[in-house]
Point group: C2
Chain length 322, copies 2
Amino acid sequence: MTSRPICVLGLGLIGGSLVRAAVAAGRTVWAATASEATASAARADGYDVAANNDEALVRAQDADALVVLGMPLPAVPGVLRRVHAVAPHCRLTDVVSVKAAMRDAVERYAPTARYVGGHPMAGTAESGWAAGSGTLFGGANWVVAADDGTDAEVWADVAELAWDCGARVVPAGAEEHDAAVARISHLPHLLAAVLAATAAGDPSAPGGDGAGALPMTLAAGSFADGTRVADTRPELVLAMCEGNRPALLAAVDDALGRLGAARGSLASTGGLAATVNAGHRARQQWRAARSAVELKVPRDTPMARLRELGREGQLLVGWDEG
Amino acid sequence: MTSRPICVLGLGLIGGSLVRAAVAAGRTVWAATASEATASAARADGYDVAANNDEALVRAQDADALVVLGMPLPAVPGVLRRVHAVAPHCRLTDVVSVKAAMRDAVERYAPTARYVGGHPMAGTAESGWAAGSGTLFGGANWVVAADDGTDAEVWADVAELAWDCGARVVPAGAEEHDAAVARISHLPHLLAAVLAATAAGDPSAPGGDGAGALPMTLAAGSFADGTRVADTRPELVLAMCEGNRPALLAAVDDALGRLGAARGSLASTGGLAATVNAGHRARQQWRAARSAVELKVPRDTPMARLRELGREGQLLVGWDEG
């Protein structure tokens, strides 16, 4: 394994958890954040926080560190400009949710950086440094973008960081990653918002005004589960969802079609079996995927083969040195 | 409080939990179930299970017990015919999810029973006798139907049973109850099914076939929460949802409208703020309703006043004997 230093820019839930996990794994880690309050909190917890991104990036350039971008998508271009100015050839990854938009931003603002996209599939409805945890990535799946032409050395750096944090690596192309997260992460946030608002009702809706507080008084299990992620800070949800517009549109259209079909069936025959059975089967399919095979791969595995492994549901847990 | 005996017909999750809770509260309780295996399991756990519904109903007639119907809606008419034949004037309630359809079924099949509808807002994705628990109703809200003309004596019987089980009573009209549960219980089941099926994808959907197992491999927090109730046995979901057709149609149309508006906004301006913010506010509204006022009411409170209290979000916890 490597002892490459790690430079984390951004100390929210994910960046802050990454700093803690990488330090716990024995890595040399420093960070920077745009928030003075967060910097103080992280320093008080014993972590190495530079005065600003430029200072952190100078150190990264000197140490040939892996730089990790951990800010919401809208803040990325400004930070990439500093990367290009201060450490233009650095090893670069990110923990931001969308991969095609990140790749395009890097090509535009920091074109000489050795960039390999990443996305740890971990999170809570909480946010900020205080909500972070060094164990957030334990057992989680961490996508590492494996498009053709990817820098294999940096790909290995990112995979080893994920493994050091206790995660399993899932290789995927940027576009297929974005299509998948639109369906399993961004659409759930959108449907949670729609469900919460529909349940709360409004004066013009049947059952809304007349029933007053009744629906919210009665809401329990299924409502609570189905709307839990609507607790997430709206600006974080918007950054994620709006940043994955084309893939999310396709997912929303698919959901609208399925909900419309259910509506038609309920109105005409009164039956919902096709909808309910399909959902039940999909949950079973998901549970089966949870017990996917863990695999070690040779260091020189080609990107095309890595993507295939990702599509097969294989989870990479280290190098096959045999 | 009363010591009125309780006769529970049906020993699934809710009926089985009710038997345990009422016995723990010191009530005399007997039950019946259509399943010989369930009857044996419940007897082995020390509960009094009659040979069949008729035997249980003869005892209820003799003891002036409160009879509780605890089977899925499709099985209700057959049981009501036996109620009418064996104990035509009995005190009768139910723990089935829809109240207007139950009232109509009682009027048709057991028109002389002293019926007051009930609905404890408690449950899990599990089902069956073994999944039940005497603490399932602790802190839960239990709707007791309070339409004009309701038999006040039986209303009190049902409220006291709910209180003995540790629940708070929410009075509501049958129709306003059904409109509320369509939004906070049946729509969540439908959206969970749609989300699960959309996320799992299919060969004709973008991101489905090409990505293979990728979406299900990556699905975690928000997918898991949003689809949890899709684990429920489909036949139970169908009985609930299809039994509340008119109210559920209105709720689905409202959700379709909101999701369609989000789609349009994402496609045109790229913005989802209105949708996401409305969902976030609704969750806050729900959390506020969780800390609703607990109240004791005089025994002679009129039904119209009880319904008002329900609409205000008040939770009844006993009689005001002052």
